[in-house]
Amino acid sequence: MGDLLIRPHRAPARVQLMDDPGPLGRFGEYGGRYVPESLIGACRQVEEAFRSAWADPAFRNQLAGLLATHVGRPTPLTPAVRLSAELGVTLLLKREDLTHTGSHKINNVIGQALLATRMGHKRLIAETGAGQHGVATATAAAMFGLSATVFMGERDIERQALNVFRMRMLGAEVVPVRTGARTLKDATSEAMRHWVGATEDSYYCMGSVLGPMPYPWMVREFQRVIGDEARRQCATALPTAVPDYVVACVGGGSNAAGTFAGFVDTTAKLVGVEAEGGAGASRGTLGVLHGVRSMFLQDDDGQVLEAHSIAAGLDYPGIGPEHVHLRDLGRARYVTVDDAEVVEAVVRLARTEGIVAALESAHAVAWVIRAAADGTLPAGSTVVLTLSGRGDKDISALKELL
């Protein structure tokens, strides 16, 4: 486990963390807009549209209304009573698994689809790994009367057949991607290639805090509803109002970024949990992929490696740029758990709380279980954990494993 202390927050007092990264989209030395000249105009248009929409109370109200009527927000902050008792900590679950379509991805997609409509686009393009972002995109497209094309690796299409069926039923076109390891990295590359030729009529709906500026910032802002709600809920749920720890799983890092955004200015320690085989922050090195400068798993020659995780949604070899920045500042720390711990955690949460979590979300649960057992989490700690999604999509995979 190594160094288990989280270094104190040592950013200069005047610098506001998790703020607007400016026109160049820089989070410290990470971020940016590493896209071909052909995509510069499209990225700028998205940035301008987002800046104006985010400053427009009418847009914010419309989005908040949709999140209430169509997504089911606010989601509850559920005390995990029996598991807490077993672990000797107070564990509160932020229930993104209860949103419409079953994961936090919908928060971001409703925001982006509303923005696409405001920009006059009629079509959404998206990449997907677990299929949750694809399902959310297909759902939003149906709601707004847009068409949707979702790129998905062939291997993920096999692993997440249920979500493929859902997307198609919702009217989306699912394009199988056969290059590379046929997972999320390849799907993202193919979606970007497609975007270069489709900027006129299509809006790229990125599913995590990745990609060129403005996506890492915009997706964090659309997801911050998780953290903002949880912060308010903690004010009544906890005598201290602020938890000791805030924990979320990290693929690209959108549910974690949205959660952290609500607590970054508090004393809460922020912990992002990566998959052992997809740990951009824990094992990556500096690089550029899919438009952003960040940390990626790569070999000595600069070839990006394939991620390997039981959770398709964490099967990405990198991490969002703002997370690396938070890590460098010592404000957040990133840890890994392995597939076996994750499967155990799914079962334990199911049997103690009656909640079947997504394999992605179970990474966060697995870390809390381990950290409570080995003393990393002192007895009596208060912990807010974002349960990013529900496990329905993983049932057939779990059936094979258990």
Binding site: V35, P36, E37, S38, G41, A42, K185, G287, D301, G302
Partner: protein, 243 residues
């Protein structure tokens, strides 16, 4: 780098390490009248490449091609015509010695499609010409800056799309070529989609020269030897020179 100004420039592209005898192909291209050569340094995730160059890249990496290996082979042919490396930002950003190593191997220039104006400053004015790209969607304001900051030549991307052969020269090519040649002292080379001698001749009329990529790599992947590849390039050369 010094490109000829007394005739239209022909710059073929070859993916480094895609086949065992790729430097023989390279020599054949030089013998067939190439004025410069673009050599692709394989990257695992070529997001601006269509199916053919993706396949060539995959073939190179599967064969075990490495940057060091390619640079060693390049140094064997350096000194004939200008050599321009092309690759993706990851290789450039992660390695402080990247530009220097390319220079030492005999490269004269570097093309990085995912390193736009906003991100390329730290790699300009290295002792390697950083060639900037322009696209049909690039605004006049940006074209001015690209024309000012590019070195060696300006790479005009003819279409809003990825690399790959196309039936006809995109209509967007003419407009971009006109906008660029009006404001640019450097040579303007048109690339992406140029596959046939007729297209090359047509494109060469619009600008100072052409880059031919996917049409070459498809032939290489289909098993064309150096002689066959040379004959193809010669047919392009002749069409361009006849105008």
């Amino acid at each position: 780098m010094k490109l000829p100004s007394d005739h239209k420039i022909l710059m073929p592209y070859l993916t480094g390490g895609a086949v065992a005898d790729w430097t023989d192909h390279l020599r054949a291209l030089i013998d067939a009248g190439a004025d410069a050569i673009e050599i692709g340094l394989p990257f695992s995730d070529p997001t601006l490449d269509g199916a053919t160059i993706q396949e060539a890249t995959h073939a190179a990496l599967t064969r075990g091609a490495t940057l060091r290996g390619i640079l060693t082979r390049v140094s064997e042919v350096a000194g004939t015509v200008p050599l321009v490396a092309s690759t993706y930002a990851n290789l450039v950003v992660r390695d402080r010695d990247f530009c220097g190593n390319l220079r030492d191997a005999g490269f004269d220039g570097l093309i990085v499609p995912d390193l736009p104006l906003e991100e390329c400053a730290e790699f300009e004015n290295q002792d390697l010409d950083l060639v900037l790209l322009a696209s049909p969607a690039t605004t006049d304001e940006r074209l001015d800056e690209i024309a000012r900051r590019s070195r060696g030549f300006v790479y005009a991307v003819t279409v809003m799309g990825t690399t790959g052969e196309r039936e006809t020269l995109a209509a967007s090519a003419a407009d971009l070529a006109r906008r660029l040649t009006n404001r640019c002292e450097l040579p303007v080379l048109l690339g992406f989609g140029i596959s046939t001698p007729a297209q090359a001749a047509q494109a060469a009329q619009l600008a100072d020269g052409v880059v031919i990529g996917a049409a070459i790599m498809r032939r290489v992947l289909d098993g064309a030897g150096p002689a066959e590849l040379g004959a193809y390039l010669r047919s392009i050369r002749e069409a361009m020179d006849e105008g």
